[in-house]
Amino acid sequence: MESESLILFFIIALVLVGGAIIFATLAAPKSFNPAKSEPYECGIPSEGPAWIQFNVGYYLFAIIYLIFDVETVFLFPWAVVMGEIGIRAFIEIIIFFFVLGLGLLYAWKKGALKWV
């Protein structure tokens, strides 16, 4: 099969989840109780919504990740042709990794890799 079956896998997954959820809504028993539909909080009535402003600790990690992930995308084409090109590709990647390593070192020293 060719890549058109990519759409096939999408459709199967939709059918699987959708079918099971529809079946469960039809087959499962139902009972109504206002306390049941509260968000869970150790059994006591929940205190306020969860949608509040709070410090997202992984914000800096997400930004550094973005840089490194884009770098991975650049590295994959290099990885494929590394064996053919040889020494020039190797020198180039040393320079690339040197710059990248400096970036990581900078983030490290600045304390961006610390969970606060």
Binding site: A13, A24, A28, Y40, A50, G57, A62, A79, I93
Partner: protein, 362 residues
């Protein structure tokens, strides 16, 4: 070389020819899609059930218990009974939740795992999506699952879910780098990103043996990072039962909860299959260089058996991690990735590039 290995493409090819002779090409493609779809659906469901059973048995062995043994022979039907129970459970609507996103989240998680599983090469010629960027495709698609997890945590409007989802976001996002770099190590060796190409390049020995120590280091990094990537083992902070109830799927009930559970196990299979394919040769039998006699003896074992043996070996190791290591703290987790695994894998890539440049690998 390796002519004895049964090629499943002769089987699929003859089915294709037969279908094309019976009906018009468009209809033949459609019916092939239906056949593949049904096969995958069955395989996906059975695999999920079996992995849950296996996990409970492995856990029982490690904790010196018996494990499920009441329903069916050796408790084999236990997970089927569980599935029926989950199907018959009420789907509790959360009053303050974002209902649309709450409904969409399990779809995204399952779709990501399904599309990644389509690219797994099960045996010689048994490979549905054989892209020339196979490794990259599996990485890209399987990381879509984190979107589903974040949506699930956010839309539940529960504090536990939100904290679990945030942790999971930081964790999956971080460890993806190490997974990518360790897989890239083998891409440098084999010079191709297609999964079938990588398997073919291991006909004279698996990369973990051919690639000297750097390939082994890459394999270890891959194991650690992929365990974190699928939210398991000592890295299951996203659903740390003892502190967050169930993490991002606290508010999900019945079959919707079952889908998150299922996706977790299927993702475990996918990373194990990917690791087995890239590092341990996939369906390629154990070959040693030019030992023709030895290689031919090994070829008598069917390729599908090799694939599943290696995959389940990695799955067993991942389960072993979970039941023997204590859970990490979030800052330890991120330190491990950013200050240890990432620098190690970067240096490792340079070493491998050097090896390839000098043609020192076999």
């Amino acid at each position: 070389m390796s002519s004895k290995i049964y090629d499943f493409s002769t089987l699929t090819g003859s089915i294709d020819a037969a279908l094309n002779s019976w009906m018009s090409p468009g209809l033949a493609v459609l019916s092939e899609m239906v056949i593949i779809g049904l096969l995958f659906l069955t395989f996906y469901a059975l695999l999920g059930l079996f992995l849950v059973y296996l996990e409970r048995k492995v856990c029982a062995v490690i904790q010196n218990r018996v494990g499920p043994n009441r329903v069916g022979k050796w408790g084999l039907l236990q997970t089927i009974a569980d599935l029926i129970k989950l199907l018959m459970k009420e789907l509790i609507p959360i009053r303050k939740a974002d209902h649309l996103l709450f409904l969409i989240a399990p779809f995204i998680v399952i779709i990501a795992s399904f599309m990644a599983m389509g690219a797994v090469p099960f045996a010689k010629g048994l490979h549905v999506l054989d892209f020339n960027i196979g490794v990259f495709y599996v990485m890209a698609v399987s990381s879509l699952g984190v979107v589903g997890i974040l949506i699930a945590g956010w839309s539940s409007n529960s504090k536990y879910s939100l904290i679990g989802a945030m942790r999971s976001g930081a964790q999956i996002v971080s460890y993806e780098l190490s997974v990518g770099l360790s897989l890239m190590a083998i891409v440098v060796f084999s010079g191709t990103m297609s999964l079938s190409g990588i398997i073919e390049s291991q006909a004279d020995g698996w990369w973990i043996f051919k690639g000297h120590i750097p390939a082994f280091v890459a394999f270890i990094v891959f194991l650690i990072a992929s365990t974190a990537e699928i939210n398991r083992g000592p890295f299951d902070l996203a659903e740390a039962e003892s502190e967050l109830t169930a993490g991002f799927h606290t508010e999900y009930s019945g079959i919707k909860f079952a889908f998150f559970f299922l996706a977790e196990y299927i993702n475990m299979f996918i990373v194990a299959a990917l690791g087995a394919t890239v590092f341990l040769g996939g369906w390629m039998p154990f070959h040693i260089g030019n030992w023709e006699g030895f290689n031919q003896v090994m070829d008598y074992i069917p390729s599908i058996v090799w694939f599943f043996a290696k995959t389940f070996f990695i799955i067993y190791v991942i389960m072993w991690f979970k039941w023997t290591f204590p859970r990490l703290r979030i800052d330890q987790l991120l330190t491990l990735e950013w200050k240890f695994l990432l620098p190690i894998s970067m240096v490792n890539i340079l070493l491998i590039a050097f090896l390839v440049m000098m043609h020192w690998h076999f």
